[in-house]
């Protein structure tokens, strides 16, 4: 939930080694395993051939990292869960709205699942129900379908995470590389700016923005289709604010990595060969930022998702009739004693998302930088 404090320790030591730096000689893990077994019985001819091919063509650092990542069971399971939740958020509502027959509502006449399985439809005589065939996860205190609301909430979480990360990565790389490569005033401005942003503890800045401009967004941005409608108007505001506080950290990581890369011999060689600065940056520096950017972005995604939930929970994010995991928690707050299920559901799902992202982020970091483990 805290935007930067958590990220600050993504690297236990100073910087990750660039991908292109040849790591100290390591035994091929596959071979070490084999050495323990009986070689002759363990290998078929094909496998031997494969091994021979492997020897000829050593794996790139990226392939090495991916292999390490695949072996991390916790991280892979987390990816599975995240993938499932993403699919659920994107395709779930569409499928769910085609399941079930027409329903004779006492208040709304005969309605199809397209209506009663939507996240904003209220069936006021069916409040606070438990899971049933019609409402798979039950209904909330206004008779709205909890599963539909949850899926919409997931969609909000995912879209805001992607949106913020796009801005974060673009700005972070652009400013970070320039600051690291050229130094000078860009570096100075970046350093000062980061200091100021870091002084705003986490959500405080977003609370400030959402608190002051939220009402304005409600009236002026709600006419924008999809992203503005259904109480989502403040989301744009919140995501901009989140991106605004997120990018300096990314830029700082990128800057550090660029500084380190700049001193590497292959950059020196490129420069001696007369390569222009732009080309050095695009061809040699940016590709080598891959691992640090991916790790930082994954870990920052958790922060974004939590921050959005938090800000909606405080009543400054998504507004009714829209849905968000944070809003679901806040609306069920008075029902803790009578219907704890309604608050446990969104809180539990959020906990699962956060843990999966953290496990995956940790796995990524370990895979890209095995030395960071202890």
């Amino acid at each position: 939930m805290d935007t930067k404090d958590k990220n600050q320790e993504i690297t236990g030591h100073e910087y990750m080694p660039p991908d292109s730096v040849v790591s100290p000689l390591q035994l091929d893990p596959d071979l070490t395993v084999l050495a323990e077994n009986d070689l002759a019985t363990a290998l078929s001819e094909n496998e031997l051939k494969e091994l021979a091919e492997k020897k000829e063509k050593p794996a790139t650092p990226l392939q090495d990292s991916l292999r390490r990542l695949r072996r991390d069971k916790r991280a892979m399971a987390s990816v599975g869960v995240i993938g499932f939740l993403v699919l659920l958020a994107i395709f779930g509502p569409f499928i769910y709205q085609h399941i079930g027959g027409p329903y004779d509502s006492a208040l709304n006449g005969t309605i199809s699942p397209q209506v009663y399985h939507s996240y904003y439809h209220q069936e006021l005589d069916r409040q606070d129900e438990g899971p049933s065939a019609q409402y798979w996860l039950g209904t909330d205190d206004l008779g709205r379908d909890l599963l539909a609301r949850l899926m919409q909430g997931l969609l909000i979480s995912i879209s805001i995470a992607v949106l913020v990360e796009v801005v974060d990565i673009t700005l972070g790389i652009l400013i970070g590389v320039l600051a690291g490569f050229h130094g000078g005033w860009i570096d100075q401005v970046l350093a000062r700016f980061t200091d100021i942003i870091f002084a705003f503890p986490g959500l405080l800045f977003i609370i400030l923005v959402a608190g002051i401009f939220g009402a304005w967004a409600d009236t002026h941005l709600s006419s924008i289709p999809i992203i503005g409608a259904n109480g989502n108007a403040r989301l744009l505001l919140v995501s901009l604010a989140l991106a605004f506080v997120a990018w300096p950290l990314m830029a700082r990581y990128v800057r550090g990595q660029t500084l380190q890369l700049k001193e590497q011999q292959f950059i020196e060689a490129a420069r001696t060969a007369g390569t222009s600065d732009t080309r050095i940056i695009l061809r040699h520096i940016v590709p080598n930022l891959f691992s640090i950017v991916v790790v930082a972005a994954t870990l920052n995604m958790v922060n974004t998702i939590v921050a959005e939930a938090g800000i909606s929970l405080l009543g400054l994010g998504v507004q009714t009739p829209g849905s968000s995991i944070g809003l679901m928690i806040s609306q069920a707050q008075n029902l803790v004693s009578s219907h704890p299920w309604e608050i446990l559901l969104p809180a539990g799902v959020l906990a699962i998302i956060v843990l999966c992202f953290s496990f995956f982020g940790d796995g990524l970091r370990d895979a890209f930088d095995p030395r960071s483990k202890d």
Binding site: Q8, I196, F200, L204, F205, L208, G211, W216, L344, D374
Partner: protein, 319 residues
């Protein structure tokens, strides 16, 4: 050392000016005319001009900013938009000791629990104790406070309903008083706030301790035949705690955001709760005041941890 601190102090002034400026600009360009909104249907041009003057809103931009900045030193944050002529500080001041109390005890717990967990984990590195510890710590660290708050409240309600106990689900009791009923109110929010702090510190302590245990002087101490206890507590631990000091400063950021949620969840009348109420009435000066107050508190916290750092680390003193 003096040079280092002066440099930090100049940086701090710069940051405070930046933070106040951003906050001020946002309030200045806030949509809508607060005076008009305040007057509602009783609009009267004469009163409007008077009010605008009273709130200082008829002044040029930089004059207003200057008043905003200098007012901070006198805890003068201007007047509230919600309640006419009521100073902002008047609204916030009751909440400050309560929020401070919440943060203070969480910080205490962090030190008292986080450091031992980190040390134990480092000493038993890679054993099952360490793995379990770090597993729990990872969960404590990753999950946001409000998820824990939800779980806690559901649990308390379930226990109260099941056993007929009367453990309070929300509210705070008297600030800085510790009768049994006060403690009942306070223990939940404090522990929940401390969870992520403890986890954070435990991780840092563990890493730092492992680093130190690998140093030559620890090996030398062992080689001399020193007792393990002395090696660990006198030689290793002291040095391992140096980076921990800086973490305490950084923890303030976590505390500040955490209190917002806990005050909302547990109905604690601290400044977070007051500020959230102010957002509903578009009482911008209150939001601005809280943002500046908390940001300045965090910056000062960092400065204090810098000072402590120079005191405990002789390497900085020398340079």
């Amino acid at each position: 050392m003096v040079q280092f601190l002066i440099k930090r102090f100049i940086g701090l002034i710069f940051v405070v000016i930046g933070v106040t400026f951003i906050t001020f600009v946002m309030g200045y360009f806030a949509p809508g005319d607060p005076i008009r909104a305040m007057m509602g249907s009783h609009y009267d041009p004469v009163v409007y001009v008077q009010l605008k003057h009273a709130y200082g809103l008829d002044q040029p931009f930089f004059v207003q900013y200057w008043h905003f900045l200098t007012g901070l030193f006198r805890l003068d944050f201007g007047l509230s938009y919600q309640i006419q002529n009521r100073p902002v500080w008047d609204i916030l001041k009751d909440g400050v000791p309560i929020s401070a109390e919440l943060g203070f005890w969480a910080l205490m717990l962090q030190v008292l629990v986080g450091i031992p967990i980190g040390i134990i984990s480092a000493l038993k590195a890679n054993s099952w104790i360490d793995t379990t510890n770090m597993g729990i710590v990872l969960v404590m660290y990753s999950l946001p406070v409000f998820v824990f708050a939800v779980f806690f409240q559901v649990l308390v309600v379930a226990i109260d309903n099941g056993t007929g106990a009367q453990w309070p689900v929300a509210n705070w009791g008297n600030a800085w008083h510790y009768s049994w009923s006060d403690i009942q109110f306070k223990i939940g929010p404090i522990v929940i706030l401390a969870l992520s702090l403890v986890a954070y510190l435990a991780r840092i302590t563990r890493t730092s301790m492992l680093e130190v245990l690998r140093q030559d002087y620890v090996r030398t101490a062992r080689a001399k035949g020193m007792r393990e206890r002395i090696v660990i507590y006198r030689h290793a631990l002291r040095n391992a705690l140096i980076p921990v000091v800086t973490i305490l400063g950084l923890s303030l950021g976590l505390i500040v955001t955490g209190t917002f949620f806990l005050e909302e969840f547990f109905n604690i009348p601290g400044i977070g709760e007051t500020t959230l109420q102010a957002t509903q009435y578009r009482d911008y000066p209150v939001i601005q005041a809280t943002a500046v107050l908390l940001a300045v508190a965090v910056v000062i916290g960092n400065l204090i941890s810098d000072i402590l750092y120079t005191l405990v680390d002789p390497r900085i003193k020398a340079s």
